[in-house]
Amino acid sequence: MGIELYGVETLQQILGWARKYSMFKQPFVTACCGMEYMSAMGPRYDLSRFGCEFVQFTPRHTDLLFVVGTISERQAPVLRRIYDQMADPKFVVAFGVCASSGGFYQNYAVVPGVDQIIPVDVYIPGCPPRPEQVIDGIVRLQEIIQAGETHSQKELRQLAGAKG
């Protein structure tokens, strides 16, 4: 090709590298985890160091969905709808135990984990998680994106394979 990029071998790797450092976030904040999310976003912990600072409040312009907090049964279709509106490839992080598993709620009102509604790539435990845990989750998500192993990327590959 004439152009040599050190350490980068294929187009997929270039795309993965570009994607993982320019994630546009859509925070779906419903509960107290939002405070910890703010602190992770703020200057002290500073998620922008990891190429993850850009927050958009419109799902159509984002590729990373942060589900922050408890999701009730009545909110479930709304969350699903926001996920459906996002541009492919899209990534989902379940922030805190409520989003991951329902947390300490086991009742008529709360969805036991958002993976009942949408595919989740990274679960961040904690009630609420420390900003360090959030950063760890983001870095792990970046690794998965680079490897092309998120749910959305796998699905897209399958679709491409089916088309031939």
Binding site: E73, R74, P77, D84, Q106, N107, Y108, V111, P112
Partner: protein
Amino acid sequence: MSKAALQAVKKKFASEVISEHSQHGDETLVMKADKIQAICEFCRDDPAVAMDMLSDLTAVDFLMQGRETRFEMVYHLYSTTKRHRLRIKLPVGEAKAEVASVTGVWKSANWMEREVWDMYGIKFEGHPDLRRILLYEEFVGHPLRKDYPIAKRQPLTRREDPVENIWEQKHILTGPSAGAHFRGSYDTE
């Protein structure tokens, strides 16, 4: 301080009072459920009582507590002019779980009564719009009743119309009811 209010109500509705007690200065009257509207109107309008605010309206389920009546309605009244409080409780049976609505006395009772209906299934006679307020219309049962299974889930069901069914559809809905997820309540014409 609210002893005077309690005495006034007791004097006026002597035949309705079942019992009374006071805890930490909060007076409570347990009364028969039949004349709740008249009692509330008196509490609001009488100058010595002057309860111009209904601070809370809720219910309790006493299933398997050895009581004759299963439910109990609780009305928390407050007077912003006299600065005193009064609590009125009404035993409500299970067979006819129905109380007269006090929306005509305090407008704020509207949503509280809807919540009690939603959570306990106690009906309010004369309520202008008795629908579920917190849960969705498809929900079966009343979750704060003690015989509702603690971990029973009722995920929002699919809509009958496949075009409206966002659970099965991968692609984005467009059209007039694109923002409507709950059957009936959010539909725009």
